[in-house]
Amino acid sequence: MPDSSNTDAFVEFERVQKSYDGVQLVVKDLNLTMPKGEFLTMLGPSGSGKTTCLMMLAGFETATHGDIRLDGRPINNIPPHKRGIGMVFQNYALFPHMTIAENLSFPLEVRKMGKSDREAKVKRALDMVEMGAFGGRRPAQLSGGQQQRIALARALVFEPELVLMDEPLGALDKQLREKMQFEITHLAHRLGITVVYVTHDQTEALTMSDRVAVFDDGRIQQLAPPDELYEKPQNSFVAQFIGENNTLEGVVREIKGNQCLVQLDGGELIDAVPVNVSEVGERTRVSIRPERVEFNKDRLQEGVHTLKAEVLEFIYMGDIFRTRLKVAGNDEFVIKTRNAPDQVRLEPGAQIEIGWLPEDCRALDAAK
């Protein structure tokens, strides 16, 4: 386990457990180390424990067991208002009875800062989120996106080194959300702050983060940079949860270095990379990304195994084509192809042969 002497660590969870009712653990044995300046996203379905982790870090929940350290200092017993952590809430939590400027001034006032300093900082924070002209308004007079910016500015105005964001973009529409994603990441990197970001939106997680921690069932299933998470999922939950994914069930027949042979339940043989299978005869679930499936015979590697497939449905989606196939008894098998001038449009009913690079097909743990 990472030891507490790790000098790089800015935020550390060590063997943290949390239970609300004394019967069930919401967070089971959480270990996490974050260096300073990192943008880390906690991603997971609802009830996976991610928000609880954030609340424990903020101090609104206490850990049932284990240590949480901030900059090497255990913070389990420090009340939230002394932790100096900025926080952005899902519903923004802008105080409705105060103006925007008063909202921003609030954290400075409770820090007993002088009036002129406060005004200067509030102005700078408002300018930073391009809301300089809105200081005199009330939160209810702002749109969702504007409130979001103010909430961000308020969390940053007292210059915390760590900022927590709890699904801050959840209430915005798609376009605005994408715009804000960029703004938040740019701001975080420019200011050099450390961010822990909680979301259940995987696109958000992939586009914004330095690293993503995928939560399920109270544990971190995988902690990795976005590309690694997408391309090299460590288990079938992550593979399923991140992006679109085709799965086939089978048994490992042969393991040779970083390649293995899997016999599907229908008897077909395919090549795959063994990820968390170690023995011949073990049941496995192989996962292939839809865009990595090849059906053009010319492009298939020599000597790899291929599968027969029947085209069930062709969907035109603009930039891509989405084709649903029946492969080895699975009629939810999807391939995605780029809408290029030379791209083939598969007709429903056509019989084709599909294949892939062995390294794109990952043999993971069998379905639970």
Partner: protein, 559 residues
């Protein structure tokens, strides 16, 4: 532009882009769009009106009308002019400030008014009414009702001595009445509708006062007593009127029925030995109070149909002919009572806020199940009779009550030094705070439960201590609940009646108890109405002030 008529036809609408010549939008059938819309909405409005009609009617009858009636009663004062119409008119010319009693004409008018009122038994009501303004007037009027006959008997006796017929029913009827009426009376069975009283024209011209008095007498006998005027001897008032007429007129030319009897009476009156009495002396004999200048001033002051006298009394003022002046210090009770009512309502409201706020806070922060259980405990008092709860406080607080007994038993209070906790303001405040507490907790709870916990968390994450978080972030957002609860509790308590009545004693009662007293005991409804109107105005004024200071849209009962 096309002319206006073309737009009336459906075809004309299209080329104008749905507008007519004046630029008004028109519907597909060519009618102006506004009219079509109004027509479409009318049915809807009528339906809505029909739906609320029962409630509207109910509210009008049981709420608006009584309030309007109360407002009217607080200024209405027709009893004086209704009961004493002649005297009221005669008093018009009398200068109340001249320091002299009213002239004989006023006493004469009062004699006739009161005689009739006494027969109608209305004089005591007037006496009670005027007694509110000047004590002693009630008995003065009651005595007048009994004693006015003494004046008329002076004349009646002398006429009777002259001719016994003057005290008989039949001769009077023959002298005064129309022949048709008399014959109708002879055949009247006393059950069916009485024949209309008709006097002879010549006698009406000759003896106007007597005719008027006899007419009133005959009608009264026929309709109120349901007796036959042919069998009832006239009131002494008629004799008095006859005497007055005979003084003025010459009856020698009269040749109708009973001419001899009348001429003999005229001769008797002309005789210097004929005994007379002035009305003023007559009243003096009845009760010397009738010669008190002050009493006549009161009658004059309250003779108009409408008066601000009740309001003056309710404001501890006195209405005198000189104008309005403050009452003597020991008679000023209502201002004190209003002040006390307001003060105690404020104290009760404040105690409800202090006691209710933590409860509401706790309720809104507990899990739903626990909160619901506690809410039942809060609502429990609502399921107990108000009377039972108030009586329970009596048991708790009285001198030999639970609290005192416990304190004595613990040795904290000496047995002869038991605390006086009831029949005073303390008892009223304690009991009413308890009774009104749910009205404070419920709105506060419903407002607090809408404050998302993320505000508190946000404040803490921004570095605010628990107290700062509460005071700067939570409390301001809970103010609408406090406002709603305060208005409810304050307005309820300002008009509270039962609890102060039971536990308030004399020093802990409210203005409403005084109003109830005037409604049910002293029967001074006008004053009760005036006090009620003032209370209404005070509440409205406070409501207005609250709206100006806090803003009424800041009041939330939930949501």
């Amino acid at each position: 532009m096309t002319d206006a008529t073309s737009s009336q036809t459906p075809g004309g609408a299209a080329p104008n882009d749905g507008r007519d010549a004046s630029g008004q939008m028109i519907a597909a059938d060519g009618r102006p769009l506004k009219k079509s819309l109004a027509r479409a909405l009318r049915a809807q409005k009528l339906r809505a009106l029909a739906l609320i009609a029962p409630l509207l009617l109910f509210v009008l009858i049981t709420f608006i009308a009584p309030i309007a009636d109360m407002l009217f009663r607080s200024v209405e004062n027709q009893i004086v002019s209704d009961t004493m119409p002649r005297a009221t008119e005669a008093l018009q010319d009398w200068d109340a400030n001249a320091g002299e009693l009213p002239p004989e004409e006023v006493f004469e008018a009062a004699y006739y008014d009161l005689f009739i009122a006494a027969e109608n038994k209305a004089h005591t009501r007037l006496g009670s009414r005027l007694n509110y303004e000047e004590s002693g007037m009630s008995s003065m009027f009651r005595r007048a009702g009994r004693g006015l006959d003494d004046i008329g008997e002076v004349y009646q006796d002398q006429f009777k001595d002259l001719n016994g017929d003057w005290d008989e029913a039949r001769p009077w009827a023959e002298l005064m009445g129309d022949a048709t009426w008399i014959s109708q009376l002879e055949s009247w069975d006393g059950e069916s509708t009485a024949p209309r009283v008709a006097l002879r024209d010549d006698i009406e011209a000759l003896l106007p006062r007597t005719a008027e008095a006899y007419q009133i007498f005959a009608e009264f006998v026929q309709t109120v007593d349901e007796d036959n005027p042919l069998e009832e001897e006239p009131w002494t008032m008629v004799h008095t009127a006859l005497y007055q007429d005979l003084l003025d007129v010459d009856v020698s030319g009269y040749s109708g029925p009973r001419a001899d009897m009348l001429k003999a009476a005229d001769a008797l009156v002309a005789d210097p030995t004929f005994e007379t009495i002035t009305f003023k002396d007559g009243f003096e004999e009845i009760d010397e109070d009738w010669l008190l200048l002050e009493n006549w001033r009161v009658i004059k002051a309250y003779s108009p149909d409408y008066t601000i006298g009740y309001f003056a009394t309710a404001a501890d003022l006195e209405k005198t002919p000189d104008g309005i002046s403050l009452r003597d210090e020991d008679e000023r009770i209502y201002a004190k009572l209003f002040q006390r009512t307001l003060f105690m309502s404020l104290v009760i409201t404040a105690s409800c806020i202090l006691l209710g706020y933590p409860i509401a806070y706790l309720l809104s922060n507990l899990p739903m199940r626990t909160a619901n259980l506690l809410m039942i405990l809060v609502l429990l008092p609502f399921w107990t009779s108000l009377l039972v709860r108030t009586s329970a406080w009596k048991v708790m607080l009285q001198n030999q009550g639970v609290i005192n007994d416990t304190l004595v038993w613990l040795g904290m209070v000496a047995d002869d030094g038991r605390l006086q906790m009831i029949n005073n303001q303390f008892g009223t405040i304690v009991a009413m705070t308890h009774i009104l507490l749910p009205f404070m907790i419920l709105p506060m709870y419903s407002v607090m439960s809408t404050i998302p916990p993320s505000y508190v968390r946000a404040a803490k994450s921004l570095g605010a201590t628990n107290w700062t978080t509460f005071w700067r972030v939570y409390f301001p957002q809970s103010v609408p609940g406090i406002g709603a609860g305060s208005i409810l509790v304050f307005i309820l308590s300002i008009g509270y009646y039962i609890t102060p009545e039971i536990v308030g004693g004399t020093s802990g009662i409210f203005i409403s108890n005084r109003i109830a007293y005037h409604i049910s005991s002293s029967l001074n409804w006008g004053l009760a109405a005036a006090l009620g109107s003032i209370l209404l105005v005070v509440v409205l004024a406070l409501y207005w002030a609250y709206d100006r200071i806090v803003g009424i849209d800041n009041v939330k009962l939930g949501g």
